[in-house]
Structures are given as structure tokens and as C-alpha cells.
């Protein structure tokens, strides 16, 4: 069983579209694929896979502080110790925890002289196990303004991995989050390989380099696709060279095409949507290169 995680650093480069393509082709090849959407903040993979939920579960992580207004005497001690700007003083002098920002450290509860602060489990989101036409899918949704520490990503991946192993899947394909922070770290640790998607531009290159640093730190083999490459062929070459220097392997380039948007609008993965032709062959060749590289 091989786990492939698809990332980009910069958002909007075509990560989810490529994840969908890999899922469709892996399924076509082996029939034994498990899917995971680790981008729990802005989960979009479901728009291509139309999951039918089998299980749904609430997700709680850590605690957050609640100040009981009846007991609060307005002494302000909690306000002065909170290092996360998560307590405000109201017009009536009493303290209140802000809707977001509380990290659940419990220092305020510790210093409150009248024990007016409780720590309650923090509901962060919902997780699902679902069926799709490609295989089982594990995904989740963070609550609006939710805490995105990576724990929810970890849970989604862990479940997906256990199921992939126990069901004899050949592939676990994970649509990853943007950036380089906790959710990304949580989606790459222990993965077999990463597939990074870049677009030809200074922003994407800059962000890709930071992502590759992270990948190198964790020692995970990494491949690269440049999407919309014909917007700037020179920068494309530049990005591929930079990636090679950092130990990543370019596996292909996709030209700018309206078809990628159209496939998405129609709720289908690229291999399902594209008619036979150049782009379809390009995507298929890229997938073959990915398989070759991962089996090497």
C-alpha cells in the first residue's frame, strides 16, 4: 500500500484537481484505492467524488476557557495573564473570552481568584467516513473559525491509513492543505511520497521552496508537476531546476486549459471529464511517471 500526499505550498495551483486525477487513475489501474481529504479547513475534494457518508462523528480537541459572568468580579487578572489576546474586558468591567484565539492553556483559570473560569472541551468540527465510486473516503470539516492544529488532519489520515491497510488497498491518495504549518506537517509525516503542484510564477516558486524544505526535513521523496506551465515557460524551467536542486523530481507539466475548470464545474475528475486528446494523454503520462518514480 502506498500513500501519496498532494500539496502545493501556494494555494490555487491545481492540487485538488490533480488529487482527483490521481484517484481516478489509481482506481482505473488497481480498483483498490482509499481517499482522504486532509485540507480540513477548505475541503473541496468531495465536489469531485460525491461521497455518500456512512459514519459521522463530532471532533473535539483540547479545551477552551469560559468565564462565568455571574461569578466574575472584574478584577482583570485573567486579562493581564492571557498571552493570546483571547480575553476582552466588557463595558460592565467583566472579562469575556473571545470567540477565537483561546489556545486552551488554562492560565486564566489558574489565576482567577474566584474560580469563575471553566475549561470546556472544544468542539472543532465533524469527521466522515464515506463511500465513493473510487473507494472509501475519509474527510472532515472544521467549524468556522475553528482551531486548525493538525489534530483533525491526523485523525482523518490515521483512519484512512488503517482502513487502507486492513482492506488491502494499493493506494491511499491524500489531498493536502496549502501552506507549511501544522496541518501540512500533520499530512506529510510518514507518507511514502509527496506530489507538489506549482504554477509558473514567483509566488508559487517561493512557496514551493519553503514546502520542499519541510519535505526535506522529514525526508519524504517528493515529485513536482508544473500546472499552467505555458503562462511562463522560463519560470517553469526555473522552478523545475530549483526543485531538482532540493531533491524533488519533476514528473510533468500541464498546459493552461479551461478544461480543468470545466471538469470541476461538472463535478468530475479530469480523467472522467477529458475527451481523448492532448491534455488527457498528458495527465495519463504524468500518472505513469508518478507510478514509476514511486516504485523505484
Amino acid at each position: 500500500m502506498k500513500e501519496l500526499v498532494i500539496l502545493s505550498g501556494k494555494g490555487g495551483t491545481g492540487k485538488t484537481s490533480m488529487a482527483g486525477a490521481c484517484i481516478a487513475l489509481a482506481h482505473r489501474d488497481t480498483g483498490k484505492v482509499v481517499l482522504a481529504d486532509a485540507d480540513v479547513d477548505a475541503a473541496d475534494l468531495f465536489l469531485l467524488t460525491q461521497p455518500v457518508p456512512i459514519e459521522e462523528e463530532d471532533f473535539t480537541s483540547g479545551v477552551e476557557a469560559h468565564i462565568n459572568p455571574e461569578r466574575c468580579t472584574g478584577c482583570g487578572r485573567c486579562f493581564s495573564v492571557c498571552r493570546f489576546d483571547a480575553i476582552r474586558i466588557l463595558d460592565n468591567g467583566k472579562a469575556q473570552v473571545t470567540e477565537t484565539g483561546c489556545e486552551g492553556c488554562a492560565v486564566c483559570a489558574h489565576v482567577c481568584p474566584v474560580h469563575a473560569i471553566d475549561l470546556v472541551d472544544r468542539h472543532c468540527g465533524v469527521t466522515w467516513t464515506s463511500d465513493t465510486r473510487f473507494g472509501r473516503m475519509f474527510h472532515a470539516k472544521l467549524d468556522p473559525a475553528g482551531e486548525n492544529s493538525g489534530k483533525l488532519v491526523t485523525l482523518v489520515r490515521q483512519r484512512a491509513k488503517e482502513y487502507a491497510r486492513s482492506s488491502g488497498a494499493e493506494w491511499l491518495i491524500v489531498d493536502g492543505p496549502p501552506g507549511i504549518g501544522c496541518p501540512v506537517i500533520a499530512s506529510i509525516t510518514d507518507a511514502d511520497a509527496l506530489l507538489t503542484i506549482a504554477e509558473p510564477g514567483l509566488s508559487s516558486k517561493h512557496d514551493l521552496v519553503r514546502l520542499l524544505e519541510l519535505a526535506r526535513h522529514f525526508g519524504i521523496p517528493t515529485m513536482l508537476i508544473v500546472n499552467k506551465w505555458d503562462i511562463d515557460p522560463d519560470i517553469t524551467v526555473n522552478i523545475e531546476n530549483e526543485a531538482r536542486q532540493m531533491g524533488a523530481i519533476p514528473v510533468g507539466r500541464i498546459p493552461w486549459s479551461k478544461a480543468l475548470v470545466e471538469a470541476q464545474l461538472s463535478g468530475r475528475t479530469l480523467p472522467e471529464y477529458l475527451p481523448a486528446g492532448d491534455i488527457q494523454s498528458t495527465i495519463t503520462e504524468i500518472w505513469e511517471k508518478i507510478c514509476q518514480t514511486m516504485h523505484a
Partner: protein, 120 residues
């Protein structure tokens, strides 16, 4: 001495659990008295981070002088080493197999963590 073995359930026939920080429990085997007991680790399964650290303290507090698992991350390794617990790595099907390998001197002590720290 007591050795702690990461396991799925509390018996010698239990499957050996290769994860350290997320193992549901540890079977504690006393090599002198041959007594078998167990140490629950489920509170650490839900930890957002630092599960390995907590588990390592758990194991040290249970009086183990050696621990056997499939892998051990860097933070857990640091704690175990500081607590004077020797870490062994094993590949085995059951807890009983691990004990046999240990008593036959087949297990090698680890000098450092063998996997990166992670959140899974």
C-alpha cells in the same frame, strides 16, 4: 527487572503493537518473578501532540527499566533515556514472542529514535 511491551490488549497472547505513543496499553513483564501486569495508555491516544512524551513517562512511572516497541520517536526517546529506560525495537506477532526474543538476547538496544516525530 520489568520490561514494558507495547500491545493491543492485556495478555501475553495479545498482538504486539508497533507504535509507541499511540499503543493502547503496555504489558509489563517481570523477568525475575515472571509476573505479568499491564499499564493503560489510552489517555494518550487522544493527545493532540506529545503522546510519545506522555507514554514515555507512563512507562517509566510503571517501573519499567526496558521498553520494547516497533518504533520510537525522538521526543519519546529523550524522555525514556533521561528516565534510564533502555529502548528496544522488535518485530513480532505477539507479546509472548517479544518476551521470548528478549530473554534469548535477540533484541538490540536502540541508540536513538528511529522515526521522526509526528502527529499520527
Amino acid at each position: 527487572m520489568k520490561i514494558a511491551i507495547s500491545a493491543r490488549s492485556a495478555s501475553l497472547e495479545s498482538n504486539f503493537d508497533t507504535r509507541f505513543g499511540r499503543a493502547p496499553l503496555f504489558v509489563i513483564y517481570d523477568t525475575d518473578s515472571k509476573e505479568v501486569s499491564s499499564c493503560n495508555n489510552t489517555q494518550n491516544l487522544q493527545a493532540a501532540q506529545g503522546a510519545g512524551i506522555q507514554t514515555a513517562q507512563n512507562v517509566a512511572n510503571a517501573g519499567a527499566q526496558a521498553v520494547v516497541s516497533g518504533h520510537c520517536g525522538p521526543k519519546a526517546f529523550t524522555v525514556l533515556t533521561a528516565a534510564g529506560v533502555t529502548v528496544y525495537q522488535a518485530k513480532a506477532a505477539t507479546v509472548q514472542d517479544v518476551i521470548r526474543q528478549f530473554e534469548n538476547g535477540e533484541l538490540v538496544a536502540m541508540n536513538s529514535a528511529d522515526v521522526e516525530g509526528h502527529w499520527v
